[in-house]
Amino acid sequence: MKYYNLGTCSKPCGILKWRGLTIMLDCSLDISTVLNYLPLPLAGNSKFTSAPHFQNYKSSAEGELCELNNVILVDSTPLFGVPYESSIDISEIDVILVSNSSSILALPFFTENPDFHGTVYATEPTVNVGRFFMEELVEFVQAVPKPKAAKSAGKWENVFKQLDPSLNFPCKIGDSCFNRNLKEIYSKKAISDALLRVRIVGFNENTDIFGKVEATAVSSGFSLGSCNWILKSESQKVVYVTSSSTLTTHPSPMEQSSLKDANIFILTGLTRAALHNPDAMMGEICMAVVHTLRNGGNVLFPCYPSGIIYDLFECLTNHLEAHGYGTYPFYFISPHAETSLAYSNILAEWLSNNKQRKVYLPEDPFPHAQLVKDGRLRHCKALNGIPELRQPCVLFGGHPSLRFGDITHLLETWGSNANNSIIFTEAEFPYLECLAPFQPLAMKAFYCPIDTSLNFHQANKLIKDLKPDMLITHEEYLASPRAFPHRVDLVLDYPAVQKLSTGSVINLKLKRSVATAVMDPILASEVEPVVRDESGTIASTITATLDTTNNKYKLVKPSMDLCDPWKCPPSKYAWGSLDSSIVMQKLLQEGFTQAKIQHNATGFIITIPSDNATVTVEPNSTHIVCTGGDGAARLKLRRILISCLTEF
């Protein structure tokens, strides 16, 4: 078994080669590359339409590099980091298992490759919410067309790719070689084509993969329909855990018991905000919002169109209501705002028990349905769709990287007012880097990341409870973070561990000694078993036809006429040792009256002069030598001797 790590700890992607299958686990897209780009402005009067060029680099690239606040930014169509492994051919991939809606984003890059013939498995909410995420990304990027890329040396080559990190260039090129493979975003058609490849699975639905492995998605408690994967062969179990949450939020709770007894336990996607407690952050957010509204300012939440925002809507409106700010409007701006709100309310099966109980009443599981009905929460496809933006207000919009989407415009218009606030709740991007091109800003920025994924404490407890034979996880999780070398609590601690680094390959030995099969009842009925001992052990020689349809072994009755007559294996064997007195007695009974026995060191020799036969007996073998006969004596001797042995 081999495991190729193509991702990073927060952007998981791995390939498992096991039992002849190539299984891709998750398909994340590295979006952090866009932080190196100039924000895509919506309005013509944006400062980004006329950003000053950066001139101290290759002249061919000058037109595409801008300098703002001492930060160099690329001014062209943004590129994204796609997982890549040179030693894996895309046509080899048999299945892609997707865990949640954020780790599906690179899927179209694989499925649009004509060599890809695999099947994708994901839950229904993962597919639907993943669709919002992907389409929103594409719509944001395509809303502001940029010149494709610069021509350098006659080749179309995005300047971003040429920026060599070794040049000590002031531009950050992602965190690692994850984004060696940089690509422009896919088309909308590629998204729908990709999602057509998906086979929908439910939680705890066992899916057979080519008869070799059974894959099961179990709830991971992180987002709607998010799951961990259990891969089982006949005797072994591989568990893949990513972005899991033991906290109680809106999705159905994490399923833990079925993750037990794993031979291999792959753990990735721990919290990206290990130092920030989600509950405390929610409290801070509520306070910050109240504070801003009290001062007459607007609150801006950079967000994705699904996920933690449902909890934000619920908590914030309750909190504001309780503090007398119940009249301030909430705006949710996203091309998929309406769908996301409506869709979340029809997913009873995928929700926490509390929310599920509401459905039985029947009431909408999420309060945002009522908020929309009451006009508290307004949703809009885009900024210009709002007839009249009542201020002060609380506004949710994307994209959290602040590089595209309606939010770039709002930041420019609201940024100069010190009463306004921007609250970062996504831990995916470093917020200061997000804000850098917009500086100077007067508005207050709050960094309150809510990442409900397992923290180190929870993860350590989980693996201690589940006791896998071998834990595989990222090297980053196995040492204190670079920024906090003294924090030994931010480390995974488990004795049997193998570490992953980006691009690494792990070789694992999974031993098995038996293959499982089933036996046809007709064959079974013809077996003549012999009871061996008091404990009831039964033994029998068996010859069967091995049927391997669907990669499952089945033993059926062989048709002997198809068998080479001289190569048919014997139907029975003789076992044990011969006892000389019993043998002699039987020989006498059967008429070999002249038989004479002569003992030697290990066995005995019987001579039968009347039949010209000699029988040499050793503990585990017998040699019958007959001379000049027609074989009758041999057959008779054989029968007698076998009757003195065990035969089956």
């Binding site: 459905v359 072994y553 040792s577 017998t622 040699h623 019958i624 054989r638």
Partner: protein, 600 residues
């Protein structure tokens, strides 16, 4: 041979009161727990004494599975769990769990408040009963215990209806509940994978019917309604609150919209709005089209359909009223029927099956005078129409399902005996499999021949695979596996012969034979050896014959060795000895017999 046993406590050659007891692999499962609408005495509930005579329900049953929320499938559940006593798990889908208690409560009210039933379960009992319910998702593999596994499939009959596969070890049973093989306006079609169960228990409500196309029936229905309201008549459509009602509402709503009709449509108040709310919540259980468009236009938001008030009964002019319950056996629909029946302008459309004993069944069979309560008769002058909208599979659909899942046996329930007989013959003919149709209380035993799980030692398989891969592909070649099967601690394992000796602590005893004959042959040893070799080659064309020494012939890699020796003081004869092991007895005996032919 293992057996699967099935006893219908209800729905055996009958419609209504579905309740089946299944015994499979030592587990006892109750499938559905319904009540009979046509009876008011103790026959309305299944006869649990079948079980309780011997032991308590908890002792006997491993679990109860409810296929969908219709009362003839779940109506007796609180009676069973709370009044007779059952604490074990009950499984149903999410929508069923949501809707079931509402229908139970509704029925309870009718029974207790209108009919004055005294010994009936209470509201609290319904709640307590529902607490024991574990919701299942479609396709989820749920382990009831270590051995009993259940899995639900989409059945399409009503919102949340499921077909259930029950598996213990290698044996499995599929119970369909009620299902529909054609998608309708709000639900999709039933689907199951090719799971090859030992037994398929299927409903057979429409065992002999092959219905015309859905579209025709819809057109027919709309025309009848339209004609009636055109001449100022009132149309009564008795329905159950959930299910067909929503489909017909969608149908009428779109028709009214298209034809721009102004005649009011009413839906019996109370349940309706809540009921359609369930459809909104569980929209993932409806069909593709509704799922896709629900954000823009929710099919269950009706513009033309208003809530009904009892005062409207005597309003003049045309109207269309949906009223519950569907079989005209009680409640509002019966009340309206009583008032409207004497007018020949009016019409009642029965959109579904009516069990015997109900008013609905009586008027459908042509009764012109119906006794509603003791001594109270009503004359039926209104036109009575029957439109089969109930979402059951017809004969074609049942055959289709059998074709899908490829069962080894079929058992028919939830249908009329005579019709079952017909379908049974058809199944026998078409699929050549056994078909059963037990009556209530009659136990049906099906002998299964399950495959037996066995482990094969990996080296043995690998060796076979390696040999197989070396040979040129030949579809006719069978892959032979040879070894010793050992059963220890109830586990079967096949190992190669050498390992078997170790495992059993019993060495093999190898027997060898040497037969020597004198043959009349002149010349040198090598000449005789060549002659023997040539003879063997000719007679054994598929076996390798080699000459490792001048006086020795090896047959098939030394399985049989022929040695030629001089006989002292004899030039005209040679001594030929043939040696082989007991494993190669056939080949050895054959070679020896050939040598015998030389000597003559």
């Amino acid at each position: 041979m293992p057996e699967i046993k099935l006893t219908p406590l209800g729905a055996g050659q009958d419609v209504g009161r579905s309740c089946l007891l299944l015994s499979i692999g030592g587990k006892n499962v109750m499938l559905d727990c319904g009540m009979h609408m046509g009876f008011n005495d103790e026959r309305k509930f299944p006869d649990f004494s079948f079980i309780t005579n011997n032991m308590s329900l908890d002792e006997y049953l491993d679990c109860v599975i409810i296929s969908h929320f219709h009362l003839d499938h779940c109506g007796a559940l609180p009676f069973m769990t709370e009044m007779i006593g059952y604490k074990g798990p009950i499984y149903m889908t999410h929508p069923t769990k949501a809707i079931c208690p509402i229908l139970l409560e509704d029925m309870r009210k009718v029974m207790v408040e209108r009919k004055g039933e005294t010994n009936f379960f209470t509201s609290q009992m319904i709640k307590d009963c529902m607490k024991k319910v574990v919701p299942v998702n479609l396709h989820q593999t749920l382990m009831v215990d270590d051995e009993l596994e259940i899995k639900a499939y989409y059945a399409g009959h009503v919102l949340g209806a499921a077909m259930i596969r029950i598996r213990v070890g290698q044996e499995s049973v599929v119970y369909t509940g009620d299902y529909n093989m054609t998608p309708d306006r709000h639900l999709g079609a039933a689907w199951i994978d090719r799971c090859r169960p030992d037994l398929l228990i299927t409903e057979s409500t429409y065992a002999t019917t092959i219905r015309d196309s859905k579209r025709c029936r819809e057109r027919d229905f709309l025309k009848k309604v339209h004609d009636c309201v055109d001449r100022g008549g009132k149309v009564l459509i008795p329905v159950f609150a959930l299910g067909r009602a929503q489909e017909l509402c969608i149908l009428l709503e779109t028709y009214w919209e298209r034809m721009n009709l102004k005649v009011p449509i009413y839906f019996a108040a109370g349940l309706t709005e809540r009921a359609t709310n369930y459809y909104k919540m569980f929209i993932t259980w409806t069909n593709q089209k509704i799922k896709k468009t629900f954000v823009q236009r929710n099919m269950f938001d009706f513009n033309h359909i208003k809530a009904f008030d009892k005062q409207y009964i005597d309003n003049p002019g045309a109207m269309v009223v949906f009223a519950t319950p569907g079989m005209l056996h009680a409640g509002l629909s019966l009340q309206i029927f009583k008032r409207w029946a004497p007018n020949e302008n009016n019409m009642v459309i029965m959109p579904g099956y009516c069990v015997s004993g109900t008013v609905g069944q009586k008027i459908l069979s042509g009764h012109k005078k119906v006794e509603l309560e003791t001594g109270q008769f009503v004359e039926v002058k209104m036109s009575v129409q029957y439109m089969s909208f109930s979402a059951h599979a017809d004969a074609k659909g049942i055959m289709q399902l059998i074709h899908y899942c490829q069962p080894k046996n079929v058992l028919l329930v939830h249908g009329e005996g005579a019709k079952m007989e017909f379908l049974k013959q058809k199944i026998n003919q078409e699929f050549k499999i056994d078909c059963f149709m037990p009556a209530n209380g009659e136990t049906c035993t099906i002998t299964t021949k399950p495959d037996i799980p066995v482990e094969i030692s990996l080296p043995l398989v690998k060796k076979e695979e390696a040999e197989y891969d070396l040979q040129p592909p030949d579809p006719k070649r069978q892959r032979l596996l040879h070894g010793v099967m050992i059963m220890k601690d109830n586990k079967l394992k096949i190992v190669d012969v050498q390992s078997a000796a170790k495992e059993l602590d019993l060495p093999r005893h190898i027997m060898q034979f040497t037969e020597t004959v004198n043959v009349r042959e002149l010349g040198t040893l090598s000449r005789v050896t060549d002659k023997i070799a040539n003879l063997l080659k000719a007679r054994l064309p598929d076996v390798s014959v080699e000459l490792p020494a001048e006086n020795e012939v090896s047959v098939d890699n030394s399985r049989v060795i022929v040695k030629v020796g001089q006989i002292p003081k004899n030039d005209t004869a040679k001594e030929v000895s043939v040696t082989w092991s007991i494993d190669d007895d056939e080949l050895g005996a054959f070679v020896f017999a050939l040598m015998g032919t030389l000597s003559k």
